[in-house]
Subunit: 147 residues, 2 copies
């Protein structure tokens, strides 16, 4: 029997499933949160723009198959709700778990992510994930420039 | 007479006004594209999350008042339209214009930006601007990692 994809009744359910799939490095579960029949976009820190199911799946297959083990915690969520499209912005804290110091064990990376969810016949699905490096203390004073 | 804010009838009109205001370093025009009565978010490369009218205005006042002169060109636009909320993703190319080489004249920085627009009684307005550094060739192969 083919795997039946879950139906998420709120954007928050979709977001929870997204980060839980990342924690478990479960590629099928990860891909099941994305919208179908839509142009989908995934941008990771300092990376290119991946658009479409296959490029996004391939990028995350490489991440999940790499020897970089990490945890990801999400906080400071802002929600901009709307009827058919809802935008979340969160702070992701990624902690590397590799055992050897030279691999950067314990390194903590703060990332800001904009997640856009769209309501479809199959429930709320992820349309855009745009994540990028940020300064350690978000909402703090900063001297960032445009280059 | 107080300045009457323009009403943008499409998200593209709003986006054009946004980048044109940046090119002219026109802070009032720049702020007039943002949504009112909404939580608005602005994230710049490697920077913190600015939310709310005043922090965003202050961040851009500093940029416009700095001695960093630049041009900004937008291409590779992807549009995910919807009735009340529309998402654009664009490649921004920022070129520094300073005259002295030590200031980085001619330096070109590729940036990916997700712009979320919301339809309000006052037309389409900007809800989220999230921009971040990318590799020189977007959509190209990459080896970016999560840290």
């Amino acid at each position: 029997m083919p795997l039946k994809k879950p139906i998420y009744t709120t954007p928050q359910d979709t977001e929870n499933a997204f980060y839980e799939a990342i924690r478990r490095a479960d590629l099928d579960a990860f891909m099941s949160v994305w919208a179908e029949d839509e142009e989908i976009i995934c941008i990771l820190p300092n990376g290119p723009r991946f658009s479409g199911y296959t490029p996004i799946r391939e990028a995350w297959r490489r991440i999940f198959n790499s020897d970089q083990h990490f945890t990801i915690e999400v906080s400071q969520r802002m929600v901009m709700p709307n009827m058919l499209v809802t935008v979340h912005n969160v702070l992701e804290i990624i902690s590397m778990l590799d055992e050897t110091p030279e691999k950067g064990s314990g390194k903590v990376t703060p990332i800001l992510a904009t997640n856009v969810y769209i309501r479809s016949a199959a429930g709320w699905r992820l349309l855009v994930h745009h994540s990028s490096l940020t300064t350690p203390g978000p909402d703090s004073d900063s001297n960032q420039t445009l280059h």
